[in-house]
């Protein structure tokens, strides 16, 4: 790896030698990744290379088989459930499909984390929800709709509003632009950049959309066969000198990365 390492004492997330396998299928094979404070790192990689698994390991939704994951210098692998819940308060997450709760109106979706922490009344929570919706460019009237009544782009925005509602220190974005038209994708990218900057939050995203990666990343890392094979500042991505990276960012079928075409 030929990256200028961020200052070690100011690392928000630090992964070392993370392994995860499902049955005989090795998904993560000694993954190392650093994310500095207020940095926006985007992990790129093809479908099925373990990007989502990596994210789920950091969030504690999956337990890695081996390796270390530190958040703010604190080891989170093998942590107790109560401590884990405490750490998760620092996190916000935008899910790929939005993952909005369809039994609740939009505003309760946005305010869900606030209501769960019981720090605000329902009335206050509603006000905060409306202001967060405004931050992502949605009017207050959307708050009373059900998530099923929204378009895909609006659902993503509501998901973003929910992710930032409790002012998290770290926000995860799981394929934020997948399934959106190019213009809406760009709107979402802008919102991600704007909101994370405003909050001074650290961002870790996974995507295979290079336009999105270039826009939201300070640093890009490429995941291939369970390892980070290249990482560096966004402006260096075109001169990476790495054949895998070049094949991926140019979207060529020929190259060192072989896709399993057989079903």
């Amino acid at each position: 790896m030929t990256e200028p390492k961020p200052d070690n004492s100011r690392l928000k997330i630090r992964l070392r030698g993370v392994h995860k396998r499902f049955g005989s299928k090795i998904v993560l094979d000694g993954l190392d990744l650093d994310v500095g404070v207020s940095e926006s790192v985007v992990v790129i990689g093809g479908s099925g290379t373990g990007k989502s698994v990596m994210l789920k390991c950091i969030l504690g939704l999956l337990q890695p088989d081996k390796g270390s994951i530190q958040v703010d210098g604190e080891e989170v692998v093998g942590m107790s459930a109560a401590a884990r819940e405490e750490i998760n308060r620092k996190f916000g997450m935008l899910f790929q499909g939005g993952a909005l709760f369809d039994s609740l109106p939009v505003w309760e979706n946005v305010a869900f984390g606030l209501l769960a922490e019981k720090k605000v009344t329902r009335l206050e929570a509603r006000e905060i929800a409306i202001s967060k919706l405004a931050q992502v460019g949605l009017g207050g009237e959307v708050g009373d709709l059900s998530p099923a009544e929204l378009s895909g782009g609006m659902q993503k925005r509501v998901g973003l509003a929910r992710a930032i509602a409790s002012d998290p220190e770290i926000i995860f974005f799981d394929e934020p632009t997948t399934g959106l038209d190019p213009i809406m994708a760009d709107v979402i990218n802008d919102l991600i950049v704007k909101t994370t900057r405003q909050m001074g939050a650290t961002a870790l995203s996974i995507t295979h959309d290079m336009a999105s990666a270039r826009k939201i990343a300070n640093r890009i890392a490429m995941l291939y066969e369970g390892k980070i094979i290249w990482a560096g500042p966004t402006e260096n991505i075109d001169s990476s000198g790495n054949l895998y990276v070049e094949q991926f960012i140019n979207g060529r079928a020929e190259g060192p990365i072989k896709m399993a075409v057989r079903a």
Binding site: N88, A116, R162
Partner: protein, 257 residues
């Protein structure tokens, strides 16, 4: 050799499932006593399981009672023992038919909807989203449904008992020509608190089984629409089979003397 290996694999898979189910149950039950609680969710599910199941349970019960009166009449009339029909109806309904028929009907209605709802939440990552929003999904999704199931099933069965006995009364009086006052009197004379109570205990157990199976299969569903479909089927089938198993076990516990 291959045959032995197959037996071993099936046996290990069975142990694995049983272990997972026991851990799931222990977790869900232990969450009942640990805050935070979700009274709003509990009420919502009590309404859904209790109130909205009334039509299907009521219909089942009234026809069960009617058939029971009719059939026991054809049987007992041969021995000129028509007098015991009220007895047969009230004991069969309160002890056995009320709980088991209501349990099976609601297993279809509630077990399927729980598995489908929670299963869809699983495959659309809503359960993961709960975790990232500092909410324990077991506590938020599973525990309120279990509490609602265990409390509302006895209520449903109590209603089913009354409607079932009424069904028997209707047939006995209007079709078989019994004297209404005598029929009610003998129903009242034969009925004991133990009959009703044992039925209500069975109902609470069945309520636990139905909601647990719905939640367990939904919670562990994977792989999109097909996975949710499989989870729904498994929830209803396993709940029905367990209800029938426990039906026997509980009857044995209560009445084998």
């Amino acid at each position: 050799m291959r045959f032995l290996r197959l037996i071993g694999r099936v046996f290990l898979a069975f142990l694995g499932t049983a272990g997972r189910l026991i851990l799931f149950t222990a977790d869900a039950v232990s969450q009942c006593v640990r805050p935070p609680f979700y009274p709003r969710m509990i009420l919502r599910h009590m309404l859904d399981i209790g109130y909205f199941s009334l039509p299907v349970v009521g219909l089942t019960a009234i026809f069960a009672g009617m058939v029971l009166a009719l059939q026991s009449y054809t049987g007992f009339a041969r021995f000129s023992a028509e007098g015991v029909i009220a007895n047969v109806v009230v004991i069969s309904i309160t002890r056995e038919l009320g709980p088991v028929l209501a349990g099976l009907m609601v297993a279809g209605r509630i077990g399927a909807s729980l598995a489908a709802e929670i299963g869809t939440m699983r495959v659309t990552e809503q359960i993961d989203a709960l975790t990232t929003l500092s909410t324990n999904p077991m506590k938020y999704l599973v525990t309120p449904r279990l509490i609602a199931g265990v409390t509302m099933f006895p209520f449903l069965v109590f209603i089913a008992d009354i409607i079932g006995v009424f069904g028997g009364y209707v047939v006995a009086v209007y079709k078989l020509g019994f004297n209404p006052a005598n029929y009610i009197q003998s129903t009242y004379d034969f009925l004991q608190a133990e009959d009703v109570n044992s039925g209500l205990v069975k109902a609470a157990v069945f309520g636990f089984i139905v909601t647990l199976m719905g939640c367990y299969h939904g919670y562990n569903s994977k792989g999109g629409a097909q996975g949710v479909g499989t989870a729904t089927t498994n929830a209803v089938v396993s709940a029905s089979i367990l209800i029938l198993c426990f039906y026997y076990i509980l009857t044995e516990m209560f009445f084998a003397k």
